[in-house]
Amino acid sequence: MVSSSADSEARSYRNASPGLAFFLTATLSLVLMFVDHRGEYLGQIRTWLSAAIYPLQVAINLPAAGLHWMQDNLALRSTLIADNTALREQSLVQAVQLQRMAALRAENERFRALLDTRSRVADRMTVAEVLAVDMDPLRHRIVLNKGSPQGAYAGQVLLDADGIVGQIIRDQIYTSEAILITDPDHAVPVEVVRNGMRTIAVGTGDLDQLSLPFLTRNADAKAGDLLVTSGLGGRFPAGYPVGTITAVDGSEGDAFLEVTARPAANLDRLHEVLLVFSPEPEAGIAAEAESAPAAEAAQ
């Protein structure tokens, strides 16, 4: 194992001083950690470094992207025709459902006008691709291929076809980093559709489980109840599905129920997500939104 060249290495090494170097790097990393933990002062440095790592992420994403390209371009004619028929049927069904939607929406607007409440604005969306890159195994984070120049911003909400996925926590130049609703650091304000009861769904670190820790023993929650976003806190738009309650437990002595839910979105098979542009917050809400993120979401 020890070769002659290794010996010459050892001789040349005597000039170096690892102690000083270690002191420098350790101090620098401690300062970085302290500043990064305290606030967003390092956003610019993070953005530059993320641009440095971007080629690596693209390279890692290549096989997955190639697979998708092959699926798109080398599909058999018969498969394409079958897909096309299926999609056409689906589109027809949805169009029929939309016809009823239009009537319902008009009715809803009328009721809202009668009650003198503000009507909800339709949400604008764009599609982003999830890069096939793993992040910290201890947290549920994903990398999206849209950065701040493409309009992504921190706090933007992610949806897939079935429900809420998460929100962006860092917008960078080429990519942005998002947190999933199942991350232990994340919480969504939700409401039970059946009875309008509001609570908070917290991530568990398990991709198919959410926890609702703030329901008291007398709360009316049953397995199978649908949870949608309540819109409280101003971050998540109201009315999007978050999950379904799977189990309600609680022994006699506890003050709170142990309620778990399954996320509606397919968090383990994300390929494309929708980024929702929230409508411009008005003056009154803007002040509230300043303080909301800390209490409500990614800390």
Partner: protein
């Protein structure tokens, strides 16, 4: 006059890529800390050229790629490379199995430091994802070392043929 450093930098980047490669959920907790292991190897073998600063740079890159606290991996990798630099003369004469134990200890120290920092910032989580990579590192070390030895022999032979 000296061996080129760039092949080793490429290897380090490969190790970093191996940490970001998408794995199925079952295998994820057992992904060895490739960057730490590669860094340990080259600090051990070429201590004059790879050490604390290399560790710091790659630590920062991991922090960005993982989205963790900036400086967290930079600190832990610096600590690991400093310990290796201090002990490299003893470590080098170890047979493979003892060296594997030493690497296990080093990776364990790193994982413990990471847990410590996570705890200090209120993000501590325990579970197989925390300790799986440590055991995986011990399992993969002999293989990685055999591969790196071949690379190093080539690099060193190339130098002697040119000089």
């Amino acid at each position: 006059m000296r061996n080129a450093r760039w092949p080793v930098w490429c290897l380090m980047l490969l190790a970093l890529a191996a940490e970001l490669l998408p794995l199925p959920a079952i295998a994820q907790p057992f992904r060895p800390a490739f960057t730490t292991m590669t860094l340990i190897y080259w600090t051990l073998m070429w201590p004059g050229r790879f050490g604390v600063f290399t560790a710091f740079v790659f630590g920062l890159l991991i922090d960005i790629a993982h989205g963790s606290l900036l400086g967290q991996h930079a600190l832990t990798l610096s600590v690991v490379s400093y310990v290796v630099l201090r002990l490299h003369l003893q470590l080098r004469v170890f047979p493979v199995w003892q060296l594997t134990l030493a690497v296990f200890a080093l990776v364990f120290i790193e994982a413990f430091l990471l847990l410590w920092i996570d705890g200090a910032t209120g993000r501590a989580t325990l579970g197989p994802q925390r300790w799986g990579p440590v055991f995986a590192a011990a399992v993969f070390w002999p293989i990685l070392m055999a591969l790196m030895d071949r690379v190093r022999e080539r690099l060193e032979r190339r130098k002697s043929s040119f000089s």
